[in-house]
Amino acid sequence: MKKLIVIMSLVLLVLPSIAFSKTKITFLNFFNAPELWEPFFKKAFEEFEKANPDIEVEHIFTPYGEMRQKLITMVAGGTPPDVVSVPSDVAPEYISRGLLLPLDPYLKKYPEIRNKLNDIYPSRVQAYKVKGQLYAFPIDIGPDGIYYNKDEFDKAGLKYPTVDWTVDDLLNMARKLKAVSKYGFTFDRSLHRLYTIYSALGGLPYYDTKLTKTQFSHPSSIKALQILADLCREGIAPTAAELTTITQQAAGTLPFAAGIIPMQHMWIGAISYLHKPGVPVKNWDTAPIPKGVRQVQISSGQGFAIVKGTKNPEAAFKVISWFIKDETQIAMAKAGVWFPARISLGPIAQPEDKKPEHFKETFIDTMVKYGFRPYWYVPGWAEVNQKISSVLEGLWNGRYDAREAARRIEEEVKGIKLTPIF
C-alpha cells in the first residue's frame, strides 16, 4: 500500500510538468545593428510564444563576423541550434555538409507557407535550392545601389543620376565630383558586392560555369578591373588603405553618411544608417547600378533554416513560418531591420520619409529584372574569396596593374578545388 501511494505521488508530481512542458527552440542569428534588431526580435518572439504557448524560443544573437564560429562550435559540441539564419553566400557550405534539413516536407504540410515562395524573388529562392530541394526560406534581400549626395551634386553643377544612367555617366560624374570633394566615388571592395559594378564595366563572372578556373584574365575582366583601379590611382576613389582610414573616421557610420564621400556604391542596408539621428548627410537619394555591358543585381540576404539533428523540426518550422507571414515581414520592414524577400511587400520597406525617393527603381525593380545568384558560392569559396580579396587589395593600393592582379589571382587559387553543388 505504501509503495502504491509513493508511486501515485510521484506520478502526480511528474505528470503536470510533462503535460505543461514547453518545446524549447534555440534560434541562432546574427546582428549588425543591435539597437534595431534586438527589440524587433524580442517582440516577434513574444508574439510567437503567445500564439504558440507550447513553444518557447531561446534567442542566441551573435555578431555577424562570429556567426560561423558560433555555429561550428555549437554543432561540433553536440548542441546545435534548432533554427539558424543562413546568409546566401555560405548556404552552399552548410547544405553540402548536410547541416540543414530540407524544408520540402514541411512546405507540403503547410501549403499557405509554400505558396508564399511564389512571391519571393526567384534568385533568392535559387540561393537555397540544391537539386530541387529547398534548405532555407529566404527572409530578406540585400541588393546594391549607388547612393548620391544631392548637395555635393549641386555644388559640382551636376544633374542627378537617372534610372537609365550608364557607367560612362557614373565615371564622368565621379571625376567632376572630385573637384568639389576629396573623392568622387567609391565602390564596395568585397567580392560579393564588387560583382555588380564589375559586371556593368564588362567583367566576366569570377569563375567559369564548370568552376575549373577564374575568369579574371579575360581581356574584358582586366579592362573592368583596370577602370576601377584607375579611379583609385587618380584619387577619384580611395585606395584600400585610404578607405580603411575613412571608415575609421566615419566612427560607427558609413563614409557616405558622414559626408566624406559624395557618391558610394553600397547595399540596401545603408538606408538604416542614413536614417539614424545626427547623420550629417540629409539630402540624398539612390540610383540603380548604372547600365553597362551586363546588368546584374546580386542576390543576397539571409534565409532561416532548420538544423539537422534538431529534436523538434516541426516546432522549428513554425518559428520560421512566423517570420514569413505578412505581418512579421511588414513589421520587420517598417522597423528598418531587413527588407522583405517578398516581392509584393518590397515597396512597403521604403522608409516613411520616402528616402530614398528612387527606392523601388534602385532595389526592387533591379532584383526582379536582374537578380543573380553567384554559382561559385560553393564549398571552397571562402578560402578562394580571401585569396582573391588580398590580391585585389594590392590592386586598389596601386601596387600593380589589373593584368598582374589577374595573374596573381590565378596563381593563388590554382590549388583550391571548388565543388559544384547546384
Binding site: R68, Q69, I72, V75, A76, E93, Y94, R97, G98, L99, A240, A241, E242, T244, T245, I246, Q248, Q249, P379, G380, A382, E383, Q386, K387, S390, V391, E393, G394, N397, R399, E412, G415
Partner: protein
C-alpha cells in the same frame, strides 16, 4: 632476503584517499579541458574534418599540404617570425631598462611601476582598438606628432611595409607585465657585489655590465623562452586591427590557423597546423636550453 611489502595503516590509507580526492578535482579538469582536447586535436590532425560531418582519415596529408601546397602557411610563418624577431629583443631591452630604472623604492618609482604594469592587464581588444585610432594615417595622434615635427605621414597599419612594425608596437605596449619578475630578480642581487665593484673603481656601467646583467641572466632566459612562445601565438591584434591584411602582411600563424578552422571548414588541417606550431616551439625551446648553458649564470655555480 625477501622484500616484505609494508602494509599501510588505516590512517595512511585514509590520507592517501584524501590526497587523491583533492588532486582528483584538478585531474578531472585537466583531463576533460586540457589533455582530452590535446589528444583529440592530435587525432583530428590526421583527418579531413569540417566540424560538421564525421572526420575522414587521410594520414599525413594535412602535414604534407602545409609544407607543399599552402603558400599562406609559409607566409604566416614568415610574418610570425618577423614579429617575434622584432618584439622579443625589444621587449627584453625595454624591460631591463625600465626595471633597472625603477629598482629603488620611492613614492615616485612606486607610482611609475604601477603605470608601467597597467597596460598588461588591460583587455587586448580594447587596447587594440585604441591603438588603431592612434595609428590612423589621417587623424591619428602618431601621425599628428610626426607632421608636427615636419616628418611625412606614415600609413602604419594600411601599408604592408609598416603593418607588422605597427603591430609590434602594440605588442610592446604590455612590456610592463614582467616588471614584478625583473624587479624581484634585481632585488635579489646582493648589495655587496656592487660595493665590491665600486671599491675596485667600477662605475655605474661596470656595475650593470658585470653584476646586474649576469645576475639577471636566469630571468632573462625565462623571459626569452616565454616571450617567444607568446609572440608565436599572436592573434588578437591582427584579428581586430587588420584581419591579416593589408595583402596578408599581418596574417600571423595563429590567425591563419583560425581562418582554416572557422572560415574554411578545415578543422582537421587547422589541427595539424596547431601541432606543427607546437613542434616548432618545442624545437626552439630545446635549442634555447642548449644554448643557455653558454651564457646563463646561476648563482650556485
Amino acid at each position: 632476503m625477501k622484500l616484505i611489502r609494508k602494509k599501510r595503516s588505516a590512517l595512511a590509507r585514509e590520507e592517501m584517499l584524501y590526497g587523491y580526492l583533492i588532486v582528483g578535482l584538478w585531474l578531472f579538469g585537466f583531463i576533460v579541458f586540457t589533455a582530452g582536447p590535446i589528444i583529440a586535436s592530435f587525432i583530428f590532425s590526421f583527418t579531413e574534418w569540417d566540424s560538421l560531418t564525421p572526420p575522414k582519415f587521410i594520414g599525413f596529408k594535412n602535414y604534407i599540404d602545409a609544407f607543399y601546397s599552402d603558400e599562406l602557411f609559409i607566409k604566416s610563418l614568415y610574418n610570425t617570425g618577423y614579429y617575434t624577431a622584432l618584439v622579443v629583443p625589444l621587449n627584453l631591452f625595454l624591460i631591463i631598462l625600465i626595471s633597472n630604472a625603477l629598482r629603488h623604492d620611492s613614492k615616485f618609482t612606486q607610482a611609475l611601476r604601477a603605470i608601467y604594469f597597467l597596460p598588461s592587464i588591460l583587455p587586448g581588444v580594447a587596447s587594440t582598438l585604441i591603438w588603431m585610432y592612434m595609428f590612423n594615417p589621417e587623424y591619428g595622434i602618431v601621425n599628428w606628432a610626426l607632421t608636427s615635427l615636419g616628418l611625412p605621414k606614415v600609413l602604419w597599419l594600411q601599408d604592408p611595409k609598416t603593418s607588422k612594425i605597427t603591430l609590434a608596437f602594440l605588442g610592446l605596449w604590455g612590456v610592463g607585465g614582467n616588471l614584478p619578475l625583473f624587479l624581484g630578480a634585481l632585488k635579489g642581487i646582493p648589495e655587496q657585489l656592487y660595493e665590491a665593484t665600486r671599491i675596485d673603481g667600477g662605475g655605474n656601467f661596470a656595475c650593470f655590465r658585470y653584476i646586474t646583467l649576469p645576475m639577471l641572466t636566469p630571468i632573462i632566459f625565462f623571459n626569452i623562452v616565454t616571450s617567444i612562445i607568446g609572440t608565436f601565438q599572436v592573434f588578437t591584434s591582427a584579428y581586430i586591427a587588420t584581419g591579416g591584411g593589408p595583402e596578408n602582411s599581418t596574417l600571423f600563424y595563429v590567425l591563419h590557423l583560425y581562418n582554416n578552422a572557422f572560415s574554411y571548414f578545415k578543422m582537421g588541417y587547422a589541427s595539424s597546423l596547431a601541432w606543427i606550431l607546437f613542434l616548432i616551439l618545442l624545437l626552439l625551446t630545446v635549442l634555447q636550453f642548449k644554448l643557455g648553458q653558454y651564457w646563463i649564470y646561476y648563482e650556485v655555480e
